[in-house]
């Protein structure tokens, strides 16, 4: 058989099911790839011995589960029982959870098992994976290119065939932007569809876990496996589990898709505009009706996000005090100094910056001017979407304002780094699902993505549109292996 790791998850599942390949052989193939890809720095922890044991176990069991015998690497933001979980931070460098996140547990219950934990921006704060305590991750698309962030280890590992599919988390674009930068598929589900229990928290009203895959069918399979009601998460939506993969269909004739004029921003490269045009044309040929729409508060989404997310982060990260778990400083003469030194040593610059922003906007005398103001604008942003979703089934936009940039290029200018999430952030503020699809390349040969935004809980529809789009896009992500 040709290299199995080149295949999509759906193809691999077929091959395992028909016993053309065993789970053990499959796992060994990924381990070999991972060992040859150390340059990419996509992994923080590997769990090879455990994975090989699991593979053998699954080879002796009847194959009836959705992900039977599939090894998966996951972002190191998901707590894994008895396996170190760092969130890309020094402060959790020695943290070994005694529990498993609901989302990963759901995957394991579907027959998958852990291959390793993937690098990410520290506490998922970043758009380039450069804030990780464990170093930069390289984009397999090209040496010196960032893989996007914060799920940068996930996008890099997936695109380099180090895992057949993976999961990330998305607070402001952390699944969709890295997917776009690596020519892969990434879905941020509706807020509340996937449990947040056991995921290291960043901004709790925005955080949502989702799949990152090579194809839209794979994405449907992974979403089906990981989603579902969880009583341990107070914001989990209690509804019947859907079978996205079975219901996937490519007939999208008659659907109405909105094109928001506010997503044509100043200084956007011509190539992004052309890509968007190409996307519209493909959908039109599939019988979709394109409708010009307006989301007037789009430009205020990023400033709103940079109040709401740091505010929630400063509260969530207050728990890292060096007492119950994680790094503790040896310096300081009393308890307060121990706290201050622990947090100063344990957090990186970007995390500190955001904690300070959050602390300031929530502090006495400033709350109304910043936090309350942001909550009001968030209402307006949500209303923009609500108003338009009475007229359209989905919205098509570019995923990012540029392709993958070079390591170090934006590191010293936080605002220019933040602007990378300009097209992805509004969706998190409104709690909606959005799918990033590989759609083409720019003149440097770097992948570019388009984003489909859906109504709340309308994942099936955007997956269907993506499925039809993928079949007709005639773009195939081909990455030459240069790293081993």
């Amino acid at each position: 058989m040709s290299d199995i790791t080149n295949q999509s998850l759906s193809e691999i599942l077929e091959n395992v099911k028909s016993k053309k390949i065993s789970s053990l052989e499959l796992t060994q193939a990924y381990i070999k790839n991972i060992e040859n890809a150390k340059k990419l720095n996509a992994f923080i922890t590997t769990t090879f011995d455990q994975a090989l044991e699991n593979a053998k176990k699954f080879d002796n069991k009847p194959n009836e589960l959705l992900l039977h015998g599939i090894p998966l690497a996951v972002k190191d933001l998901f707590c894994t029982e008895n396996i170190k979980t760092t969130a890309g931070s020094k402060i959790l460098n020695n943290f070994i959870p005694s529990y498993e996140s609901t989302v990963t547990k759901n995957l394991w219950n579907c027959g998958a098992f852990l291959l390793g934990k993937l690098n990410c921006d520290e506490f998922a704060m970043g758009s380039s994976n450069e804030t990780s305590f464990f170093g930069n991750v390289i984009n397999p698309v090209g040496d010196q290119l960032v893989p996007g962030g914060s799920s940068g280890g996930s996008s890099s590992a997936l695109a380099a065939n180090l895992t057949p599919a993976t999961i990330g988390t998305d607070t402001g674009g952390s699944i969709r932007q890295p997917a776009s930068f690596t020519g892969t598929v990434g879905l941020k589900p509706t807020y509340g569809l996937c449990s947040r229990w056991g995921i290291v928290a960043f901004a709790s009203s925005l955080d949502q876990a989702g799949p990152m895959t090579k194809t839209v069918s794979d994405c449907a399979i992974m979403l089906e496996a990981m989603s579902g009601f969880d009583e341990k998460d107070s914001t989990s939506i209690n509804k019947k589990k859907e079978t996205y993969s079975k219901n996937l269909k490519d007939n999208i004739k008659g659907l109405k898709i909105g094109i928001p004029k506010e997503y044509r921003v100043d200084n956007m490269p011509k190539e992004i505009d052309e890509l968007w045009e190409k996307g519209k044309k493909i959908l039109k040929n599939l019988g979709v009706q394109l409708i010009d729409i307006s989301l007037p508060h789009t430009k205020y989404a990023l400033p709103t996000y940079y109040i709401v997310a740091p505010a929630e982060a400063s509260s969530n990260l207050a728990r890292y005090d060096g007492v119950r778990y994680g790094h503790r400083s040896q310096k300081g003469k009393d308890l307060i100094e121990m706290y201050e030194n622990t947090r100063s040593e344990g957090f990186g610059d970007e995390v500190k910056r955001r904690i300070l922003i959050g602390t300031y906007v929530l502090s006495s005398g400033y709350y109304d001017a910043y936090y309350l103001k942001a909550q009001k604008v968030r209402q307006l942003i949500k209303k923009d979407f609500d108003d338009n979703f009475t007229k359209v089934d989905a919205i098509l936009t570019p995923s990012t304002p540029s392709s993958a940039f070079k390591i170090g290029e934006k590191k010293n200018d936080p605002v220019s780094m933040y602007l990378n999430d300009i097209f992805t952030v509004p969706v998190n503020l409104a709690g909606l699902p959005a799918l990033s699809l590989p759609a083409g390349i720019d003149k440097q040969g770097h992948p570019l993505g388009l984003q489909l935004i859906g109504k709340a809980l309308d994942e099936q529809k955007i997956l269907n549109i993506g499925y039809a789009f993928e079949k007709n896009c005639c773009y195939k992500n081909e990455i030459k292996k240069w790293w081993s």
Binding site: L335, I336, E340, K352, A374
Partner: protein, 95 residues
Amino acid sequence: MSLDKEKIKHVAKLARISVDEAKVDTLTKDLNSIFKFIEQLNELNTDKVEPLTSILNQSLRSRKDEISDGKIREKILKNSPKKSEEFFIVPKVVE
């Protein structure tokens, strides 16, 4: 509005993060450029807008107040950087 160094040191104190004196200048510059960006929101009149406090179209569930686990002291203490018997150990607080 601009944040000066003293203000930043005060906020850092509130957040229990000691700030390296050598980094205060860069931090001041970065935070000011971020706040300049954030303050675009002041262009909008939001007097009549209700703040959004939840994006879910459901109210939070309540549950019975009962113990669902327990006897996990060992597990909880396992990751502590400093412990003794069944206690977390911290620097002396009371003289």
